[in-house]
Symmetry: C2
Subunit: 222 residues, 2 copies
Amino acid sequence: MSCKVRLASVCASLAPDELALLDSLAHPTSFAPKETIFSQGDTAQTVYNITDGMVRLYKLLPDGRRQIVGFAMPGDFLGLAMRDAFGFSADAITPVTACSFSRAAYSALIDTKPHLLRRLHDYATHELTLAQEQMMLLGRRTAEERIVCFLLAMRERWSKIGRDSVTIELPMSRQDMADFLGLTIETVSRTLTRLAKTKTILIVPDGVRLMDTQRMANMAAA
Amino acid sequence: MSCKVRLASVCASLAPDELALLDSLAHPTSFAPKETIFSQGDTAQTVYNITDGMVRLYKLLPDGRRQIVGFAMPGDFLGLAMRDAFGFSADAITPVTACSFSRAAYSALIDTKPHLLRRLHDYATHELTLAQEQMMLLGRRTAEERIVCFLLAMRERWSKIGRDSVTIELPMSRQDMADFLGLTIETVSRTLTRLAKTKTILIVPDGVRLMDTQRMANMAAA
DNA sequence: GCTTTGCATTGATTCAGATCAATGATGCGG
DNA sequence: CCGCATCATTGATCTGAATCAATGCAAAGC
């Protein structure tokens, strides 16, 4: 199994024999853009570790309102946050490759490898911290602050997996950003345009270049 | 140690010898209303299991905006969602009693008791699911839906710890509700008044009585 | 008993962001 | 290269909730 993110993900702390064991259980899988990986309410038979591409995780209300609860990137796990059924839907934004594990095998493995469970617990705990940050953003921040925080957070995440750059790839659509930030597509577009007009960012195809990270950091703090 | 919530909390699944071990590590602690339990950024030396009362967990922005990320009730754990420093502040709303554990002892214990770690992991995962529900609420729901969802969720939580009733205790202030729901105190007050005028709820001292749970469930779903 | 203090409620007005409505880009299939 | 589809941008208008501003109301202190 070739895994580009082994050093950054849960796997990083595993011993060689544990890695080999994990390898033997993993099924390489791939998904085309817009392909559904799983849907809210599905029985959770599989756990995924994303190795390449980007995935949107979202919840829907019966009337069609959508909230994106996260974007999964290389190194991220899907399928932890549920016992029997998935609490959200997931689909590929870009072409995605992942290691998939049967839930039964995954469950049996963590029962015998406390070390791995500890890593997964730390990972879940980190996800919870991010979720609380997102509550602060959705409940109390202005549209401009949301956009700026989002861009800085995306830079942080790319950098964690070894793609540090002032040019931030944003493979998701404006609608996806809006549904993640609790805004409309028009507000996202207008706010990005305004940030570009003030030379804070430069809008490029499929992303933005951060031109004034100092100002952005100030906006995110206050 | 007397613990009113032993059957509902993480402790419920422990063997007698494990419980005894936990008992030997626990320090009973109590806090007066408005007393700070810990603050965002503090070094996390202690883990708490709430046994009675209610705690607000919140994050502050430098300019004073506040987001309550959760209310902790009997059976809830505090201090999981961080590695070294607390990511949020906590203070008592009512008089609170808790079992406190030193972080070192807690950490050592879970390293030797995979069974306990598994329970804590399931707990963290449940918290994450609640956090995602809250993102949907904060990002996409109207003020009225937020209030209705909040009341139904509080009923659910009271019922889980054996206090099932259509009269919901709400020990927190209107400001606390507002800061949890991403609203202002005025909007919370007006919305509750409107729900009372339509005979959906009845406002009583320190709580509300649910008069039309069917209508409320419809509001929360759509 | 009266005043203070700290919520909670209610009303009037404002405003950030939503909604409604075109108009541009970009890219793909034939 | 053209026609169509999808997505993004921009402008005009509207509105739900915020803000501003009293007023109510009950417990605490004197």
